[in-house]
Assembly symmetry: C2
Homo-oligomer: 105 residues x 2
């Protein structure tokens, strides 16, 4: 099982959509940040302030980036969202994800 070592984790959860989407923030020694999260079935819209990598570790979802078609990820897959953009999700089963944040545009 993959793990992150020598990290700092805040004990307070990030809670969205009445708990249907929750995550924990993990900060690495180099100052970079990831969130480890869970999404329950449902439809959600998010927006980014930084470029994001969404690494789906388990579960089935469809995602739609601005100006693109819906695409499906089943159980593992990665997609990227540019900074300052919104994206839509249709989550079909419990999704376990890891989101990474990049300061470059």
């Amino acid at each position: 099982m993959a793990e992150f070592t020598n990290v700092t984790i805040s004990t307070k959860a990030n809670i969205y959509f009445e708990g249907k989407v929750t995550s924990r923030t993990v900060v690495f020694q180099d100052g970079t940040r990831k969130t480890l999260g869970i999404m329950l079935p449902g439809e959600y819209e998010f927006s980014t302030s930084q470029k994001e990598e969404m690494d789906i570790q388990a579960g089935v979802l469809e995602y739609k980036l601005q100006g693109q078609e819906w695409k499906t990820i089943e159980n593992s897959g990665v997609f990227y969202v540019p900074a300052n953009e919104s994206f839509s999700l249709k989550v079909h089963s419990v999704v376990d994800y890891c989101c990474s944040y990049f300061s470059e545009e």
Copy 2:
């Protein structure tokens, strides 16, 4: 905000009750383990293999230990469950918790 530093966190979530209860395992440098978790409204029964401390950081729930009455925790509070015992929960709002495990009985 409280945080845990120099810890190891597994990237794979612990998922129970179809995602209504989920957690992440955090291992400390001394080898001890905690889980940071979320519980959505519902009724659950758990059982322990080690003595557990349930530290409720947010949310409202009632808990019932074997042979005891139901007790309520609102937004913050701690209860202990002996090893090898089951306990019941009635979760009334999204609960953010930290569970610690003790090897002594």
